[in-house]
Symmetry: C2
Subunit: 197 residues, 2 copies
DNA sequence: TTCTTCCACTAACAGTTGTTAGTTTTGTCG
DNA sequence: CGACAAAACTAACAACTGTTAGTGGAAGAA
């Protein structure tokens, strides 16, 4: 139906603008009137397109979550070493983020404003994703790819901390491509800063 | 004066509670009535102790900033290699955070809600701090401590991303001491995950 | 006792919040 | 043209926002 298509299109426009606003001011500080103004309409008109403010946040968070999940699934299927899996996983994660830096920033910083039960669901997805990276690292420790004395929990938290702040400082008009950036990041985490002797 | 001391004491109590609330719900979503309730008083009573909601945020952010600055200054004074300076700088940073994880979380995630000109001042302090770490890394590259082909900007951003998310996942009742944690973090960043061959 | 300081209170303000109900404009298709 | 749906509008709601003014009680010092 034509109506659905055009509705989606306008709805997506609203959601995209909302993402920018949420990133800029934070979810709570961003008002529906702010959002409306950015779109050149009245606040009440927004409700022709969305059910509530939180529905927008939900859409942003869960759509990103699905993308991350899909990316990791692709990597897990491959029959390669743990070190290579980690490398590909990191690159995949960076690429997903780079595809929509604005939504990524909201995904990371604003998800806590989801209400129950959505918050619970979201956190479950997240912990699952993180644990699957942890498994990869543990595989690497067993196989001898990685050092035996590392704290895998600390390692995986460090990994995600590094990855997740990317939207905050990576500028979209940067010359570096996401693929290359992911490569450098994974190199830094795996090999460290130190010069080999 | 006795009045000043007891005033400070109660004021600090208010600020500490506010820090917890800001961390939990975010600055914007945390209302003065929420804060009052946590203290068992009326919202208006808060204004016997503080001038405004933002004054609390300002205190939290700038006090933390001063602590970070002092810690780094101590490290810079030492006459050691760049690698050692980076190690000590990281450990110092972690220790400052660990001293007040709640305030650290607010410092990191809520500073953007400062209004001008405080926001500008804060960001200047922050960029200065980061740049001084960057200088240490650049020294390390020159001296051969670190690899020549690393992107120092990326390296320093990765470093801070890792460090700064600590308050989010480090639990205060963890068995690991801040010193040890800083040690492990610096080891991971400098040496990487990879097993030496 | 009286003075002073701290710390709480009640009452109220002007502005903002997300959202609703009902209506009208706009553009497309038959 | 007329029909229909998309997308905008106006008006209003109840609740909540940070904050001020003015007041009163409690505790310690003079």
């Amino acid at each position: 139906m034509a109506e659905t298509i055009s509705n989606l299109s306008r709805k997506e426009q609203v959601i995209r603008m909302a993402a920018e606003l949420f990133k800029e001011k934070g979810y709570s500080a961003a008002s529906m009137r702010d959002l409306a103004q950015k779109l050149g309409i009245e606040a009440a008109s927004l409700y022709s397109h969305i059910k509530s403010k939180e529905e927008i946040l939900r859409t942003l968070c869960f759509d990103m979550a699905a993308d991350f999940r899909a990316s990791l699934l692709e990597v897990e299927k491959k029959n390669v070493s743990a070190r290579e899996k980690l490398r590909l996983g990191i690159i995949g994660h960076v690429k997903v983020m780079a595809r929509d830096l604005t939504a990524s920033a909201v995904f990371m910083n604003e998800h806590r404003h989801l209400s129950q039960p959505y918050l619970r669901d979201f956190l479950l997805l997240r912990i699952n994703y993180i644990n699957r990276f942890k498994t990869i690292i543990e595989e690497g420790v067993s196989s001898g790819d990685f050092k035996k004395d590392i704290d895998t929990k600390l390692a995986v938290m460090t990994l995600f901390s590094s990855l997740n702040w990317m939207p905050a400082w990576f500028s979209p008009d940067s010359t570096i491509e996401p693929e290359k950036l992911g490569e450098q990041l994974s190199d830094m985490l795996i090999n460290g800063l130190k010069q080999k002797v």
